[in-house]
């Protein structure tokens, strides 16, 4: 029982992070119909930036935790959005009218480029970060197993929920959200009504990168270790989350993220931690085979 609750907490925390990354996949897929395989590396870049920012803060002697966290978030979001913008501008926009395969290959190239760039400039060693928010709450003890809720876990869940609410508001109620959805449904028509489609796509990439940036900061604070290769696996898991929820569906991405997080932590606890990645990818394969449109996605209807 204690174990079960503990894994629920761990799984939800992990799932929140996957969900934040998955949103970026799903938004970009929605608007230009491509899987941005460099998105996981955008998240990695954000984690590295937050390590730098955290180190900078401690060098400057800023130690109030909420202030440090807010500053790191702002710095990471700012820089990572610029990365998101630059990736779209250089690797995808020139291929806007090319065959579907071209931007996909370009995305994989971009992913390799980002990983190597960080490896070369930051070194390949794992970067440790001092614990920012130690401790937590001991919820209860059951049959000798104490269930623990860390402050970082509370923070991750709260930040994710707040972001989801703000993000849903942005997409459903503001004029940017309407433009974004219009471009998703019919890019040509949107431009004929005066919407700057290129700009909307740029903003979408920046928004997706900003969400990945938050995930990067959270993970850095949560695990305390970061290196240049974390983007790959996290990216593929978030992609699995997006596919599971239904690529193109925003609530689907969040639901998929939480499900993947839960599956991973229960699998690690009850079956085998070594094979947790296998569990995730088996789900990816099963979903693609039996329900390619995902849990909340609509089956794609061929336009005629």
């Amino acid at each position: 029982m204690g174990q079960f609750i503990q894994q629920l907490i761990n799984g939800l925390t992990l799932g929140a992070v996957y969900g934040l990354i998955a949103l970026g996949y799903t938004m970009v897929y929605g608007i230009i119909g491509m899987i941005n395989f460099a998105h996981g590396d955008i998240y990695m870049v954000s984690a590295i930036i937050s390590v730098t920012a955290l180190t900078l803060m401690s060098a400057l002697g800023i130690s109030a935790v909420p202030l440090v966290l807010a500053l790191v978030l702002i710095i990471a979001i700012a820089f990572t959005s610029v990365y998101g913008w630059a990736v779209e501008r250089t690797a995808y926009r020139p291929l806007r009218n090319a065959s579907r395969l071209a931007p996909l290959i370009s995305a994989i190239g971009m992913s390799i480029f980002l990983q190597n760039m960080v490896q070369v400039t930051q070194g390949a060693r794992v970067k440790p970060v001092p614990t920012l928010m130690p401790g937590g709450i001991e919820l209860f003890t059951h049959a000798g197993f104490s269930v623990h809720l860390a402050y970082t876990q509370i923070m991750i869940c709260v930040v994710t929920v707040v972001l989801m609410v703000a993000f849903t508001g942005l997409i459903t109620r503001t004029s940017f959200g309407r433009q974004q959805r219009a471009c998703e449904q019919d890019r040509t028509m949107a431009s004929l009504l005066g919407i700057d489609v290129d700009k909307t796509i740029s903003y979408t990439f920046m928004l997706g990168a900003a969400l990945a940036a938050v995930a990067g900061v959270m993970v850095t604070v949560y695990y305390g270790v970061v290196d240049f290769s974390i983007g790959f696996v996290a990216g593929i898991k978030a992609f699995t989350a997006a596919v599971l929820g239904g690529v193109g569906s925003l609530p689907g991405a969040m639901l998929g993220g939480v499900l993947i997080g839960l599956i991973e932590s229960y699998w690690s606890a009850y079956l085998s931690p070594e094979y947790k990645d296998v569990a995730t990818f088996v789900i990816l394969i099963l979903v693609l085979m039996f329900r390619p449109s995902g849990l909340l996605g609509r089956p794609e209807v061929e336009k005629v």
Partner: protein
């Protein structure tokens, strides 16, 4: 070159569009005035839709250009503008033969999307929109008011919150026109707006087109096969056949033009007899 009278809105000069060996439009010149309905007719494949595609930046014409005389922004060469600038800056909006609404948005949202300009300026990267600041709220209310006005005028107000894709064909056509009007166009280009409409709906369309051109001084460029609409509302008609302009004039002149009868109306009459 043709001479351009005072109230010319759109001026088409020697427009030629070739696709490889096929000449879809051949040396077309035309002046479209404000406050009047100009119809483009012709058999299938005559180059009518190609002409619209050249206007709105889809195709870059092989030769010639399309000039918009904008009262505020001066002379604008449409074929050199990006597509979204054609709508936003030059005030030219088109509809499609096959309706292109945003199907999973509500009717009202479809009309709000078209009011990009004012709202985007007020929303400041959406922050103002999220926080509900007063400047954005005011812009939003104005946009809503405009959308509501057109919905009421077109008898769509009770459908405002229905997903556009769920509505009937005739209704979707009207929404598409309402949405185009929300851009505040100077020139409205309608590609077969009467297709698929029943006689009552197409009579309403006639009335709407006359109302827009007379009361709102919109220039209207109309591609249409339904002669009951064309002959009733047009101030001038331009007849295309295989990319050439074979006639231009008032409905009366066109109905009696021997070239037109041979190329176009004659065929339709025999069809009607056999049907």
């Amino acid at each position: 070159m043709i001479e351009t009278p005072q109230n010319t809105l759109l001026e088409v000069n020697n427009l030629t569009m070739r696709f490889g060996g096929l000449t879809a439009l051949d040396d077309l010149s035309l002046a479209v005035p404000a406050g009047k309905v100009t119809s483009i007719i012709g058999p299938n494949g005559a180059g009518k839709t190609t002409f619209f595609n050249c206007l709105t930046g889809f195709y870059k014409p092989t030769v010639g250009d399309v000039v918009m005389h904008h009262p505020q922004h001066g002379k604008l060469i449409l074929n050199q503008l990006a597509t979204h600038r054609v709508a936003r800056h030059a005030g030219v909006v088109r509809t499609f033969q096959n309706i292109r609404l945003f199907p999973s948005m509500t009717v009202l949202e479809n009309l709000m999307v078209a009011q990009y300009n004012a709202l985007q300026r007020a929303s400041r990267f959406s922050l103002a929109g999220l926080l509900g600041l007063s400047g954005y709220r005011r812009a939003n209310e104005e946009a809503l008011a405009k959308a509501t006005t057109w919905l009421e005028r077109l008898g769509l107000i009770d459908r405002a919150n229905v997903a556009a894709g769920n509505l009937s064909y005739g209704t979707q056509r009207r929404i598409e026109i309402a949405r185009a009007l929300c851009v505040d166009p100077l020139l409205l280009c309608l590609d077969e707006p009467a297709a698929g409409l029943n006689p009552r709906e197409s009579a309403e369309l006639n009335e709407l087109l006359l109302y827009l051109s007379r009361e709102h001084d919109k220039g209207i460029l109309l591609i249409e096969h339904d002669m009951s609409v064309v002959m009733r509302v047009s101030d001038q008609i331009c007849v295309l056949n295989f990319g050439h302009k074979i006639a231009q004039g008032t409905p009366h002149e066109i109905q009696h033009d021997p070239n037109v009868i041979k190329a176009y109306l004659g065929e339709e009459e025999t069809e009607e007899v056999s049907a």
